[in-house]
């Protein structure tokens, strides 16, 4: 029994180490002097740690601007996604209206279509609307993610109807029921969804690349990619860029882990 437990712990530790090792090395390399990481064998730790790479990123390349762009886009994407998907998911689960189930089935069916297929038509549509090269255009695909609606709906199904009816008898309007009763109960799933949307929009590369032409509007992944074309050999500099890209979301994830996990569990069990 004890041996078995040790084996499991050991295996888990190995897997965890394998996952985290590249990340740790990324951080380590970002503090190395130019060219240090390209030696063979590559060193694990910097010989004399330096902040030169970060200085260059934020100074010469003005990465601060792109960081701010990314934060802005991801935050707006998250806020807008929640604004639309949460009420939609609730409505699909709990409100009676004509065509509800048919509409929902269609939405779920659309889930199987890969997002990339829609990119060209979406681009042309936004072009016609004059939204190319604007944040509005960058944000539109995030407005009402089907997966988010699905997630919220499944979770809402576990809220008993009698509770909503009790609130109706207590005189609460539909908006008040959503705000005062449903939203507090949905907290875990909302946090989960917010994290999903934030992470995906933060890491998204394709869509901002397509829709944003003006360099000043670039988000971090797009900016880094543009930069890497000129500095493809500067491993240390690129790693510092990668650290700036990964670290904020990693910290966010760790901070919200508690809600996130409970959200995933309840969602799956009750859904």
């Amino acid at each position: 029994m004890s041996l078995r437990r040790w084996t499991v712990t050991l295996l888990a530790a190995i897997v965890a180490l394998m996952t985290i090792a590249p990340l740790l090395w990324m951080v380590s390399v970002s503090f190395m002097a130019r060219g240090e990481a390209s030696q063979f064998p590559p060193p694990l730790l910097p010989d004399s740690p330096t902040l030169d790479n970060y200085r260059m990123l934020f100074g010469t390349f003005g990465l601060g601007r792109f960081l701010a762009n990314s934060i802005l886009v991801s935050t707006l994407a998250t806020a807008l996604a929640l604004l639309f998907t949460v009420p939609a998911g609730y409505a699909f689960a709990k409100l009676r209206f004509r065509g509800r189930d048919a509409t929902f089935r269609m939405l779920v069916a659309a889930l199987v279509v890969p997002g990339q297929i829609g990119m060209l038509p979406l681009f042309l549509e936004l072009k016609a609307m004059g939204l190319v090269n604007s944040y509005a255009g960058a944000l539109i695909p995030w407005l009402a993610g089907i997966f988010g609606i699905f997630l919220v709906r499944q979770y809402c199904l576990s809220i008993p109807d009698e509770m909503l009816e009790a609130a109706r008898i207590d005189g609460a309007g539909e908006g008040e029921i959503l705000r005062r009763i449903v939203l507090p109960l949905l907290t875990p799933i909302i946090v989960t969804l917010a994290l999903f949307v934030f992470l995906s929009s933060w890491n998204d590369f394709m869509w901002p690349l397509i829709i944003l032409a003006d360099q000043n509007l670039y988000t971090l992944p797009v900016a880094l990619a543009a930069m890497s074309r000129e500095h493809v050999q500067d491993n240390e500099l690129m790693m510092a860029g990668a650290v700036v890209t990964t670290l904020p979301v990693l910290i966010l994830f760790l901070a919200l882990q508690r809600f996130y996990l409970s959200g995933l569990l309840t969602g799956s069990v009750k859904g």
């Binding site: 008993p160 009698e162 509770m163 009816e165 009790a166 609130a167 109706r168 008898i169 207590d170 005189g171 609460a172 008040e176 005062r180 009763i181 507090p184 109960l185």
Partner: protein, 361 residues
């Protein structure tokens, strides 16, 4: 406070008619219990009064207001649900204050109303707790508290005791009765449990298949059931029903050919008509007497003080159930004499409708 008047209430879900024209009057301050088997439409009726279901036809008046089309919150009702339906993220206090808060009552008024209700229900120490930290009985009390705070004209209860264990159910039943005495609020209470109906109701409304079978005080329904359904629905063990044929002057022949004396009815059944004779288990007298018949004891359910004795006449016939004080002397297989006092018999015609006794006039 106010009375409740339901006129010809009809409700259909698609092709299914759940309520087929129900009319009920509940007097101001009365405790009315709707009872019936599951699927009889009793919950639909209650939810229609609450405004959670829209009637397909008919009208509902509370006091002198027609509320048929009003929103639930405008009807002056409060409802206690079977699942309690408390808001899990709010404290007991907040749960009870919710309705007044929505109505934008001022803080002091809310506080007074909540504390008054909490005092009535003895739940003051629980006010800061969340529902998850309460027992079933306490949750039930909070749900009632939430209803009291609204100061409704009518209380609606939807099977409020079904989720409680047997012991607690008996205690809460008593509390409902004393609460009603204290508040005097008109109450409509739905249950499938005939014991709850018998013990709580000023008046019972027996519903079956979307129609009213009988309305009356518990006593009336028990003593003078209008038909076999009501007769067998109220009372445990159920009333015995014996198929028989009218045979001569105030006599009937049972299925096995034996005769028993009948009470006088108007009109008296003509010879040869099919009858059903009902007798409650506690009305069968064991021991010799005029017209006593002989039976075999096939089974005895001993409950401690009382025993239900199954009396079989012929193989294959449904045994009669007879309830008596258990002195431990009877044993299965014994031959006993039993007689059926004519004044305790209930007569039903071929359609199961009660025949009026002459003494009823």
């Amino acid at each position: 406070m106010a009375g409740l008047t339901i006129r010809d209430a009809r409700k259909s879900f698609g092709d299914t008619d759940v309520l087929k024209g129900v009319s009920i009057d509940v007097a101001d301050g009365e405790f009315a219990v709707i009872v019936g088997p599951s699927g009889c439409g009793k919950s639909t009726l209650l939810r229609s009064v609450a405004g959670l279901e829209e009637l397909t036809g008919g009208s509902i008046r509370i006091g002198d207001r027609d509320v048929t089309t009003l929103a639930p919150s405008d009807r002056g009702i409060a409802m206690v649900f079977q699942s309690y339906a408390l808001y899990p993220h709010l404290t007991v206090y907040e749960n009870m204050a919710f309705g007044l808060k929505i109505a934008k009552a001022d803080k002091a008024a809310i506080d007074e109303a909540v504390r008054r209700a909490a005092t009535i229900l003895n739940i003051e120490p629980l006010l800061e707790r969340k529902p998850a930290a309460l027992s079933g009985g306490q949750r039930q009390r909070v749900a009632i508290g939430r209803a009291i705070v609204r100061q409704p004209q009518i209380f609606l209860f939807d099977e409020p005791l079904s989720n409680l264990d047997a012991d607690l159910r008996v205690r809460m039943r008593y509390e409902f009765a004393s609460l009603h005495r204290q508040l005097g609020t008109t109450t409509l209470y739905v249950t499938h449990d005939q014991v709850e109906a018998m013990t709580l109701a000023d008046r019972i409304i027996v519903l079956r298949d979307g129609r009213i079978e009988q309305v009356g005080t518990p006593r009336e329904l028990y003593e003078r059931p209008a038909n076999i359904f009501v007769a067998q629905f109220l009372g445990t063990p159920r009333m015995n029903i014996l198929p028989a044929v009218a045979a001569g002057e105030a006599q009937a022949a049972l299925a096995d050919g034996r005769r028993i004396a009948l009470p006088a009815t108007t009109p008296a059944p003509t010879d040869g008509t099919d009858l059903s004779i009902g007798i409650r288990p506690e009305d069968i007298m064991l021991g010799d007497g005029p017209d006593a018949l002989s039976f075999t004891v096939t089974f005895i359910e001993r409950l401690g003080g009382l025993a239900t004795v199954h009396l079989g006449a012929r193989d294959g016939d449904e045994p009669l159930r007879c309830q008596l004080r258990d002195d431990g002397t009877l044993a299965e297989g014994d031959r006993v004499m039993a007689h059926f006092p004519p004044e305790r018999l209930h007569l039903f015609d071929r359609d199961g409708q009660a025949l009026a006794r002459s003494t009823d006039e």
